[in-house]
Assembly symmetry: C2
Homo-oligomer: 179 residues x 2
């Protein structure tokens, strides 16, 4: 098992929290990643792909590193969430929230403030994500535009606004099984 | 070749415009459609599926009616377009248009006025469309969230606003080839 991050501090934190001493942690920039081919059963990426500029190169690397029939699962910020140039809620007089979308078709750089100022993201349409995966040879298995259940809202009322628009996209894909 | 519509007048118009006398036109309600199995090479549906309540039943009928390796291509209103309870542009002081989204996760009935008052549509998330197709056995080949090219906007300036959010979804899927 191989764990990758671009941050030394995140890797230290991961090692500290880890319960499995066989996990190898490695400092890597996913823009430059190289992996040995036909090696892994599963690749998993959490909320990172919307930062990657050379995404098709990374998808190629992941595809080649998977064994036949291997899976790739990732979450990213949803294109509805990354599209607006100045993202934010609009609140009507009755308190009802909406998420104004613009520039959905204009892919590329978005700059927002999150923890620090000037965080750079890459907006891509949902079609672009899926078609890049299909072009690479992956089979689309499941597309989840995450939203909270009623029970989750009861337990955590601030999740309520997530009913209005998806913030997170989760995709499950597979390398064809040629065995 | 078989052409279906629920409207007698649309079928008359189709026959009138038709250049191929071998096309069979039939009055059908897609909510109740039956087709002979393993018969067709291609199914095509234009801007209709967002009206269908029993969509998984219809997808099953289409899947079964296709030959091995047969294709299904459809357009529908995009979930970003069907989500809001009261759809419409919001215009900022600088004239910039946005499309406020709400209730994206609340699937089901939407009532809007289009040609006549009180047109009923069914909102589904993009994930739901794709997962229904995958569950039925289809392979996702291409997902297009249509937007205009620069050239198309030059030729037809009113298409400009379509940059801000997709109105139309086009999906190309295939029944696995078991030959």
């Amino acid at each position: 098992m191989l764990g990758l991050d671009i941050s030394e501090r995140m890797l230290s934190k991961a090692k500290e929290l880890s319960v499995d001493s066989t996990i190898v942690y490695r400092l890597e920039d996913l823009e430059q990643l190289e992996l040995s081919p036909n090696t892994y059963d599963l690749a998993y990426s959490s909320l990172t792909l919307h930062y990657i500029e050379r995404l098709s190169q990374l998808l190629k690397t992941i595809y080649q590193s998977l064994k036949s029939g291997g899976h790739f699962i990732f979450s990213s910020e949803h294109p509805i969430y990354t599209a607006p140039m100045e993202p934010g809620w609009s609140v009507a007089k009755d308190g009802r929230k909406s998420w104004p979308i613009n520039n959905y078709q204009t892919e590329g750089r978005r700059v927002t403030d999150w923890l620090v100022k000037g965080v750079v993201k890459q907006h891509r349409t949902l079609g672009t994500y899926l078609n890049m995966l299909i072009k690479q040879g992956f089979i689309i298995k499941h597309v989840e535009e995450w939203g909270p259940t009623r029970q989750e809202i009861i337990e955590n009322p601030s999740l309520d606004e997530e009913i209005e628009r998806p913030m997170i996209l989760l995709v499950s894909i597979q390398k064809p099984d040629r065995k």
